[in-house]
Structures are given as C-alpha cells and as structure tokens.
C-alpha cells in the first residue's frame, strides 16, 4: 500500500484488519473499511475503469459517488460503485465494459476515432440504406451498456418499512447536525440521514491541515448521541421527495419510508470539475476527492501534484495534500487576482503560486493511463480563454481540481422549490420553499463554516415555528467575500477532450455543435448531447453544461434555467423498491377440501376458485364434461362462496333496488327471487344477479364474483345520494354458498332438512329460510346451471359442515363436485349469457336481447335515459345462441373467433363449447341483426382460417336440443 499515509485522526479504516482481494486478476490487500477505489488507489492502481463511450482510462474523480468512473463487477453483482462500496475479503473484481481488461481495453480504439463520432452521431448515420440498419444496430447494441447482467442473481426482497417523525434532516454535515440538535433540543422528534458511513460531512475532511474541525465534529456527535429523540440513519440516502413529505431512505438493508412533518435539506453541494483537455486522466481528481482519500482512508492522492483552483478552496486542499506528504509542483489559480493571503502562506512553504493561470491541458503518460505533467499558461477569466504564448509544463503525477460547487438540490427541486441564481456565490439557491421544506448550508448558498452552523440553527428554528412551537426568527445568512464557485471554469482547447460529463464522455465542443444544430435550450441540449443522462444524473456536469450554454447564447445563467430533477438521488435497486411483494388473496372455507380433492384453481378477482377436479390423468375437457354430465344425470355440487352477497335492509329496500337495477321489485313477493341487471350511465351492462326477498324490508342480493366489491361500492354511493331509509350490509365474506343441482339434488338435500322441497311448496325462483344439516340456511331455487338446483347460503364457517353432510348424503347418487369452469358450460347449456364473458365494455341490454329485464316504465333507474336514446338507434350487433352442425368434426372454433362475411366482420364468438350431454357444439356469438332470427346461418372463422357454419337456435339449448 505504497500510497498509504501515516494514521490520520478520524480515519475510517481499521488498520488491524487486512483484507485480500483481486482486481482484474491481480492480488491486492486493503484495510477493513477501505472502499474498492481507496484500496486500489492506496496500492498505486490508478486505472479503475473505462468510460462509457470512448473507453478512456479513468481513475478517481469525485470519490463521492458523483461520477461513475469506477464501476466494477464481482462476478455476481454488476455496476458496483467502487468509490463507495467497501471492499470485502476474497472479492474478485473486474472493471465493467472493457474488452481485454481495464489496462488493455481493446475498445479504446474508439477514443482515437472519436472525430468520427460527433455529438448525436447516431442520429446522422446508419439508417441508409435501410436494409443495413439492423447490422449497424447490432454493432451499436453490443457496444452499449455497462455491466453484464447476471441471470442467476438471487431474488433479494429487501424490507420496506414506514416511519414517522417531526423533522427529517437530510445531510449530517455541520449544518445538518446543528439543525438536528436545535430541533431536538426543542423537544421535536428528529431523524437525520446521511449517505456516508460516518456523520460529519465536509467537517471530517475539509481541514486545511488543521484538526480543529475534527474536535468540533466530535463535539457535535457526542451531543447528538446524548439526545434520545434524534434518530440517526447513516449509510443511507434520501432517494427522492414525494408529496406530503414522504422521503424514502435507501440503505443496504432496505427502504425506510419516512413521513415527516417538516424537512430540512442540508445536503451540501457537489464539487464541480474545471474543464480542460485531458481533465479525465487517472490522477486528475477533484480537491474534495483528494481530501476524502487522505482523511477517510489515509491514502495519498499522488506524490507530486499540481493544484488547479478557481476559488479559495484549492488553497485548503493544497495544505491537506502537503499534510499527507504530497509534493506540490504548483498551485494554479484561474482567477486573475487569486487569493493573496492564502498564496503567501503557500509561498512561505516554497510552493509556486500562479494566479491568473490555468491548466491548459494535462499530459498523458506514454501508456495514456496516467498523468506525467500539466501544461500551464495564463488565463483570461473575463474572456475565458487560455493565453498560450508563454505556456510551460510542470511535471506531476496528479492534479487536484477546485472550481466550485453545484447545490445537491434534488429533493428541493422535486418538492417544487423555486430556485434563483445568486451571483454572490455563482450558484442556484432556493428562493421559494414549499410548505414545510427548509434548506440550510451549502445547498442554501452558505459556505463559511460558522455561517453554515448559524444557518442550521436558523432553519431548525423555522421548522420549529412551522410545527407550531415557539422559536426565534433568525436573520438569514448571506455569503460574504470571494465566490466559492467560478463563473466559467472552462479552458477551450483546439484538440478538445476537455470533458464536462464524464459518464457520457461529453466535451465542450459537443455543446457548441449541439447549439449550432439548434439544440440551444437546456432541455433539448440535454437530450441531444445526453449530458446528465448517465448514471450520475449530472451531479458533476449539469452546472457546467448550463454555464457553457449560457456562454453560447450570450445569456445570463438564470435565463438558461435548469433541467427538471427527478427521483432518484442515487440509482436505486429494483429489489429495494419492489421489496416484499404482497399478493393478497381470498379463500373460501372449503379451500382445503377442494385442494384435498384435486381441484385445479383459478384466480377470479382476489379469489382462488376451484375450476374443475380432474381425476388422475384426466384432461381438463374430460373433467369438465364428466362434472357437467353428473349435474345433468345425477347431481353436482359447487362452492359458490365467492359470489357477491349483499343485504338491503329497511322500508325503502325495494325502492332502492328499483332505482339501482333495471327491473321491478316493489311488487316482488316475499319468498320470491328476481333477476337484477345493473347498467352504467351510458346504458352499458355492468353486472347481473338475483335479488331474493326475505321480508318486506329485507332483500338478499347475490351477484357475480369479480364485480362484487365495485357493485357494493356503487350501491353505497347511490344510497349516500338518495338518502333512502335503509341499510346496506355486505355479507360476501360472512356467508358462504353452495349450489347443489341435478335430478338427484332434491332427494339428497331432503335428507338434511325437514323443509318440504317439493316444487309446490318451493317453486322455481323462490327463497326459503330453514335448517340444513342443523344449520340456519337460505335456500334459493334458481336455474343458473340447472332447473333442479338449490343454492344454499349459510355462515362461511358452517359451509364445510353442510358440504360434507351433502357429500355424505350424496354418495349413493354419485354426487360430484364441479368447478367454475364446468359452471360456465352448464350455464351455457341453460342459455344464460354472462356479463364480462358474453358482454364487453360497450354492450347494452338490447344487444343481448334482454329487453325483458328492462322496465322502462319506472320513473328512474341507472342508465334508463341512455336506453331511451339507444332504443332509437339501429341495433349494431345482436347476441345469438347457435349450434354447429350435428357431429361436427372440423377444427373447433374458440371464444373470440370472428363471425365474418367475406371482408366484413359481423361479430365474434363469445362462448363456445362442446356439450357432451347435448352432444352438440353450442355457443353464443354476436352477429349482424339481420342474422339474428332462429335458423339463420353465419360463418365463424377459426384460428387457422377455415370457415365453420353456425346456425341460430332458440335457447336454452338443453330445452331446444334435448327437450330437457
């Protein structure tokens, strides 16, 4: 570890524990706590990755996850961010997106042909001739992308938890810590989050060789630790801002969705690179990156470096470099005036300081993998041009860059904060904060340490008052002195390769040329150049892009504006976001019985329903036919517990039904059942069912499974509007239902109840309440699947008891269970269209011949007025029952095959099935009205295209075709 410095106070590595790992096949050792980048850098390994487009060698740039120079794979995971991922024992790491290794990447030839790849080149070529495009596309697709996806990566579902606090503080630098303490001391419940492993932010590394700040940090931290109402979340980032102060905090273990009453954003600022030729060589890094290397990981950034700065920050960095044992060839200050005092201090230490100069270009070592020197020349920072007449070269193995900052304002932008450009700090700062949002510190344009601390207190006080408590209204801080950011830290160079966006390899000339082509507003420029669209989302590039565009357009920066900020602050893993998927489902009390008896289940709405019960080796079709035959010849039984069941109590119950459904109910006899059909306002069929009148003031409604919740919801809404004297009770889950049907049904049932089941005492379409197998049940006689059927409704928990009793009693009659798929065939044989199957989102009652169910003479029902209109219009389609030829042997048509007449589509099949009982293929289809008469013949086209003739018949099929 040749670049490891002596122990630094507060360093994050544990020197007592060595870690061994390999990078690109080469063995390395590190200290526990090292990140992948710090470990490699300490070992003198400086080429850590290759760039996305030109495959240029890259090393440490921000060392803060503000760039993606260092993306590695450990063979399992990919696109791992070396700057922040800690290295673990035995890791075998490789840089992503190289061909032949990071040092000898064969794709680096692309760098040399970059003149052939101007900005937006992919729009300009490869499309003519058309037939060649697929080939080019393959080339480009193969070149695209970063890491390779591991298809065997385990499905990891992280925990997602909710938490609540009074104040959420984002960023635990001096500002955030102070704000948190202030709010907590006022008795508020505070959560403070920081993406770093340790709190303190710049207080930990921006030292200027002075350990005073460390002492200050320790003070803050011990105070924080002493307050129980401060919750500290480290190594986790606030991923975005969502309405009403919902902020997901993403950490290794999962996502914590924090709902705060107030949010203080003290997220600091991203250091921005000055732009000069070859500013991307390994060894050229941001000043704050050098400081982090030194103080967090005790790594010397380089041996002999040039410090280029365009603000006062660089002077502090210089002192830190010296402290770390780095020689400094020179400090180059791009500002004509420089900073006399700080300069003098360096000169005292024998360091050359060139004010009004710039790094014209960094010189690449012969292998292009590092820095061998820097070309220095005068810089006119009014015209922003390099004056190259007396340029000279300084030998060095590294360059530290400081030019200014961009606010880490993502959350502020996402919350809808108005930002304005403050020329005092050459930075966008909040001007209009949303309710409950507060900003403090660098993100607020405040840079001096003492001021940041005061700004933290001020923001906390504002938040405290926002929450209705007393707190002083402090004076807002204002930055004084030299701007922390340079207005235009760019050095033009005829040969370019002066990089603005390191993710996407975008140089100054790319912006110039994009503007020439008319992409001269920031959003278009972003899209054309792709600046800021890489994985680091413009953290290190957007501000310079805006400055360059402003210069091109000759406009002030605020006229250019910024691009919209979107979640996420850092790219966030799909496994974290998806988390534990909750797939809720409903089961009837007979579920275990169905399972034990080999049922195949189907999902209907939230319910799991038994679809059919195949015997060993039996096909679905056979199973269904067998079950259906049982119903026709002996008896069958089905679990209908998932049906919607609603009770309507009260004097106005019948009136309610008359308004809600299409039929008449006021004159319905107690003990009888009637069909109900629900329409929407436009007259389209929504659902249907049966209303059983149990008393003058009590109806029991049973409707289809999948719409039940929606229908009940609409009934509740109607009742709120109509304010009738009644109560609605949804008993869908409380009651189960069994339907036993078939010739033997009555006999089987009669063994379990002393109620007279004879058709005289219990005719079709009637309801009775009586004991069945000792249980109070509602018995309904409806002909949905068969004329001789009985629906039994009883408390869900008692359904299995009744079911078992019936199965027991039905043994000698070969009583068989049947499932929902069989039910479809049975109701088809009975000639009942099913909403949702035989109707679609536009079907009106006339189209299915349901005039009989519509009582237009009522004063009102939902959809009535639209039916008046529809009745005047020509019918466009008509649902008809049909049969295929006797013993039809051809290709069986299927649901949704079309009814065609040459090129015209007349309609479609909505239901079709072979019925073993009838021994015919029967179904429903929509046809043109001229074909609706019994006996008319129409053509169905099968999947393979053959035409099958179908004939309209009268339903119910079992009556017409079987005389049953």
């Amino acid at each position: 570890m040749i670049f490891r410095t002596p122990k630094q106070t507060g360093e994050w590595v544990n020197r007592d524990k060595k870690i061994n790992f390999t990078f690109e096949g080469e063995a390395f050792s590190a200290f526990e706590g090292d990140t992948i980048s710090s470990a490699l850098w300490a070992a003198g390994q400086k080429v850590l990755g290759r760039s996305f487009k030109y495959h240029r060698a890259r090393g440490v740039l921000s060392f803060a996850n503000h760039d993606v120079n260092v993306l590695v794979t450990d063979g399992v995971d990919t696109n791992m961010r070396g700057d922040v991922v800690t290295v673990k024992e035995g890791m075998a790491l490789f840089a992503v997106n190289t061909k032949g290794g990071v040092k000898k990447d064969k794709n680096s030839y692309i760098d040399s042909i970059s003149p052939l790849l101007p900005v937006g080149f992919y729009y300009k070529a490869f499309h003519t001739p058309r037939r060649l495009f697929p080939l080019w596309e393959n080339v480009i697709r193969n070149a695209a992308g970063l890491g390779v996806v591991n298809f065997n990566y385990p499905r990891i579902l992280k925990r997602k938890t909710h938490s609540h606090c009074d104040v959420l503080v984002v960023g635990a630098g001096p500002t955030g810590l102070t704000a948190a303490l202030t709010a907590a001391e006022a008795g508020l419940e505070v959560t403070i989050v920081d993406e770093n492993r340790q709190l303190g932010g710049s207080l930990g590394y921006n030292r200027a060789a002075d350990s005073k700040s460390v002492t200050q940090l320790d003070g803050l931290l011990s105070k924080v630790a002493s307050l129980p109402n401060i919750k500290v979340i480290a190594s986790a980032y606030a991923a975005g801002y969502y309405p009403d102060h919902l902020i997901p905090i993403v950490g290794e273990s999962g996502i914590n969705k924090v709902r705060a009453k107030a949010v203080i954003v003290a997220s600091g600022a991203f250091e921005q690179p000055p732009v000069f030729r070859y500013n991307d060589l390994p060894g050229v890094m941001l000043g704050s990156a050098a400081q982090r290397l030194i103080y967090r990981y005790a790594v010397k950034p380089f041996n002999n470096g040039v410090v280029v700065t365009a603000n006062d920050y660089g002077y502090r960095v210089a002192l830190d470099l010296l402290q770390a044992g780095t020689k400094i060839a020179a400090l180059v200050d791009m500002r004509s005036a420089g900073n006399a005092n700080s300069a003098a201090e360096l000169v005292k230490r024998g360091i050359k300081v060139y004010a009004g100069h710039c790094v014209y270009e960094a010189l690449a070592s012969s292998d292009k993998l590092g820095v061998r020197g820097a070309v220095i020349c005068a810089y006119d920072d009014k015209q922003n041009v390099a004056l190259t007449d007396n340029k000279f070269t300084l030998e060095c193995d590294g360059i530290s860059m400081s030019a200014g900052w961009a606010p880490a304002g993502a959350l502020l932008y996402q919350a809808g904060t108005g930002m304005q450009f403050d020329y005092g700090v050459e930075q966008f700062v909040p001007s209009r904060l949303p309710n409950g949002m507060f900003a403090a510190g660098k993100v607020n344009g405040i840079f001096e340490l003492e001021q940041r601390v005061r700004d933290g207190v001020r923001a906390a006080h504002d938040a405290i008052r926002h929450l209705g408590l007393q707190a002083p209204q402090n004076q807002a801080e204002k930055h004084v002195g030299a701007s922390p950011s340079h207005p235009y830290p760019m050095v033009p160079h005829p040969k370019g390769k002066n990089f603005v966006d390191f993710d996407e390899d975008i140089q100054i000339k790319d912006f110039v040329n994009a503007a020439k082509e008319g992409f001269d507003n920031i959003e278009l420029m972003k899209r054309f150049t792709t600046v800021g669209m890489g994985p680091s989302q413009g953290k290190h590039s957007n501000m310079n892009a805006i400055r360059i565009l402003a210069k091109i357009r000759g406009l002030p920066v605020e006229k250019i504006g910024t691009t919209t900020s979107r979640p996420f602050f850092h790219p966030t893993p799909i496994g974290h976001l998806g988390g534990r998927g909750f797939h809720s489902h409903r089961l009837t009390s007979l579920h275990d019985w169905h399972q034990a008896n080999g049922a195949v289940f189907t999902d209907i709405g939230a319910w799991k329903r038994a679809a059919y019960y195949p015997a060993a080796g039996q096909s679905k079709e056979d199973a269904i036919q067998t079950e259906a035959l049982a119903v026709r010849k002996t008896a069958g039984i089905i679990d209908g517990s998932s049906f919607g069941k609603i009770e309507i109590h009260g004097p106005d119950a019948a009136l309610f039904l008359e308004r809600f459904f299409t039929g008449e109910y006021t004159d319905q006899k107690v003990g009888s059942c009637r069909y109900v059909m629900l329409l929407d306002d436009s007259g389209v069929i929504a659902d249907d069912g049966i209303a059983s009148r149990l008393a003058d003031d009590l109806f029991y409604l049973s409707i289809g499974t999948s719409n039940a919740a929606a229908v009940y919801r609409e009934m509740q809404r109607s009742q709120q509007i109509w304010q009738l004297n009644l109560g609605l009770v949804n008993v869908t889950g409380a009651f189960g239902a069994i339907n036993i049907a078939g010739p033997a049904a009555r006999e089987i049932l009669s063994t379990l109840t002393d109620f007279d089941l004879s058709f005289e005492s219990f005719p079709m379409s009637s309801v009775r309440e009586s004991q069945v197998a000792g249980v109070e049940a509602r018995m309904i006689r409806v002909a949905f699947v068969a004329d001789n059927g009985y629906e039994l409704h009883a408390p869900m928990a008692q359904i299995p008891h009744i079911w078992n009793a019936l199965m027991q009693a039905g043994k000698k009659h070969d009583l068989r269970p049947f499932g929902s798929d069989t039910q479809r065939l049975l109701r088809l044989e009975m000639g009942h269209p099913m909403p949702g199957i035989d109707t679609d989102g536009l079907t009106n009652p006339f189209e299915i011949g349901a005039e009989w169910a519509i009582k237009m003479n009522k004063p009102y029902f939902i959809g009535q007025r639209s039916l008046v209109i529809l009745a005047k219009r020509p019918l466009r389609k008509q649902l008809v029952p049909f049969v295929l030829a006797d013993n039809f042997k051809g290709e069986m048509p299927m649901d949704c095959n079309l009814v065609v007449d040459g090129r015209n589509i007349l309609g479609r099949v909505t239901s079709i099935s072979y019925s073993k009982y009838i021994d015919r293929c029967i179904g429903f289809a929509y046809v043109s009205p001229d074909k609706k008469e019994v006996g008319s013949v129409f053509q169905i086209r099968t999947d393979s295209g053959s035409l099958v003739a179908a004939t309209v018949v009268k339903s119910p099929f079992i009556k017409t075709l079987k005389g049953a």
């Binding site: 969502y242 102060h245 304010q723």
Partner: protein, 92 residues
C-alpha cells in the same frame, strides 16, 4: 405517497382511497334533450381547476366529497356528501 383526509377516519395515504370521479349534477332526465344527456354521460370538464370529487375510503367504506385543485393536486376540504358546511383543512 400523497395524503388525503377522510372526514370519518382522518388523514390516510392515498392508497386507502378510490377515486370516484367528479361530483356532478345530472340534468333532469325527463326534460333534457338527448344531446344534453349524451353530453352529461360522456363529456367532462377536463380543464384544470378546483373540482368537487367523489372519494371512497376502502377500509371503512366511506364515500365523501373532496374539493381538490387538479392542477396543484392540493385538497382544500373534504366532507360527507350533503354536509359541506363543515370546512376541513387537509391534515399534513
């Protein structure tokens, strides 16, 4: 996630609610023309602004009215239908 205040159950995340569309008065179906009815059934006042809307709190089965600005997505008041005298700021 956005919060909404149910007049019966208090402030809850939006996921507990179902949007019920704009609260609208139907024309008198006995006197209105076919065109007027068709317009009522199909057309909507889609321009942004303050709207009265139906919302349903699923866990409790409560329908209520929310007055919401569809541009800012800010809810000014929520109340049970027919009880719009009780003003209620949305809790945050």
């Amino acid at each position: 996630m956005k919060l909404l205040t149910c007049p019966m159950n208090g402030t809850r995340p939006l996921s507990e609610f179902i949007f019920g569309g704009e609260y609208r008065q139907a024309p008198d179906q006995d006197t209105c023309s076919d065109a007027e009815w068709a317009a009522f059934v199909h057309n909507r006042s889609g321009a942004p602004g303050d709207k009265k809307e139906w919302w349903y709190h699923s866990p409790s089965g409560t329908w209520f009215i929310a007055e919401r600005n569809t541009l800012t997505d800010v809810v000014s008041r929520t109340y049970l239908a027919g009880q719009n005298n009780t003003t209620q700021e949305e809790g945050k």
